[in-house]
Amino acid sequence: MNLVAPIPFAEALARHDVRQVMPTHLSSRQLQEIDRGITKTSLFSARNLMQGYLEALKEKLRLLISPAQVSRPDRATAGNPDGLTTDGRNDADLRVELRQVLKEHGYAPAPEDRGTIKDFASDQRLNLVVRTNVEIAQNYGYWQQGQDPLVLDAFPAQELYRAGDPVGKVRDWPKRWRAAAAAAGDEDALRVQDESGRMIARKDSPIWQSLGDGDGLDPDEASDALHNPYPPFAFNSLMDIRDIGRDQALALGLIRADEQVQPSHEEFPVPNPAEAA
């Protein structure tokens, strides 16, 4: 195994960069009622009208989505003569920097909101904002790279599974899966769930968008939907997707041997890094 220089996560950055900053006085619930073509291409935070803060947020998130490699003379050593070092951030770094930006904008929460999700400077709020936006970008990147026709031949299906302990609200994902499958008309997904307990579907199934939209759920349950056909499918859920190989997809009856699963596309144009290069 050779370790070499990393390459920027271009697809993830493209997904992030296409979003326009959108200050808003609307609540989370009210934002759900806006056309998702707008919310999916906007960077916003409920009831946050600080344009300067949102612009700083957008810029700083890039360093988490795809850290850059920079040359620093003070880091030069015999083994690293160019002083190559990673210019990236972790969640704690971003919390510190974003709180500083809020302070510079004169922000102070209402006393009764201090430390709660309504406080823009609280751990809870900052973690939610940072994690959600980073995960949307990176998961889009993985999903997009999986739409290559030959990759789809090798991995025509994917599985929804729990990758980490949920933060806060615990949701019934098997129920959400069932509702999305019914709404999308994906009987194979329902059958596989019944037979195996696993949540697996073809990559080109409309179930993934239905899952992202919270289809088939009551309005309260669906209020945390993020409207993407890739994770996160809801705030703080820590549910993820993983590729399912051709042999397993055949065994599950999800594809025929002579069938080619077609690439899926995001609802709005995201610049193709390969074409931009």
Partner: protein, 222 residues
């Protein structure tokens, strides 16, 4: 963060070798890189499940973050590079000395001069700069402690009709050492944060074989 290249030609069947050398090579390499990437992601899921932080603090989900930074973007000259775009991963893999100065202390506006090692679960995953109740206590040899200053927590209630608010005193705290500050840290290398090269190669070859099988089933060129 780091890029990874794995040699797969030796594990490939004669047919696959022939295809890799043909015009289909780049496309198949992309499939192989996806296969190896998936094996990496599976490995990081395993680390997430089996390596919680030693202090038992609230999880930062470090390994999930590493997993999400895995991508297989580039085919160049017959080689696929898998990239792990996460700050901190290469340090875990190769070890070495960690020095301060990357971050800025918001209180001073200058680069940090010490590495802060959390000593209690509530300090884990948080930078000292996120608190304003820490006292600096020097020890020796450039080391120091950040200790929770004495204070009483209070809760401020909602505004009443007369405009006043209820203040409820809470816990009295203070004196606990939250962080140890050191000039640098020498971290051991940990090669187990990557799966064995053979497994990555096998996953790459299996993925390429699947793609070829799909094309053959459709009567495609192979």
């Amino acid at each position: 963060m780091t890029g990874i290249q794995v040699r797969v030609i030796d594990q490939a069947s004669p047919l696959l070798r022939k295809l890799l050398e043909s015009t289909q090579g780049p496309g198949l390499l992309r499939v192989g890189a996806r296969g190896a990437s998936n094996r990496l992601r599976e490995h990081f899921d395993h680390l997430q499940a089996t390596r919680p932080n030693d202090l038992g603090g609230r999880r930062t989900n470090f390994w999930l973050g590493v997993k999400r930074g895995v991508q297989a973007p580039k085919i160049q000259g017959g080689t696929a590079t898998i990239s792990i775009n996460h700050v901190g991963f290469r340090q875990r893999l190769q070890g070495g000395i960690i020095r301060p100065g990357r971050s800025v202390n918001p209180k001073t506006g200058r680069p940090t001069t010490r590495i802060a090692i959390p000593l209690r679960s509530e300090a884990y995953g948080k930078r000292p700069a996120e608190r304003d109740d820490l006292d600096y206590v020097p020890i020796e040899n450039g080391r120091a402690l950040l200790v929770e200053s004495a204070h009483t927590q209070i809760r401020i209630g909602s505004k009443r009709k007369d405009g006043s608010r209820k203040i409820t005193p809470g816990e009295e705290r203070g004196g606990l050492a939250m962080y140890l500050l050191v000039p640098s840290v020498n971290q051991k290398a940990d090669p187990t944060v990557l799966p064995p090269t053979t497994e990555l190669g096998a996953a790459a070859v299996a993925a390429m074989d699947s793609a070829v099988a799909a094309q053959v089933a459709r009567g495609g060129a192979a």
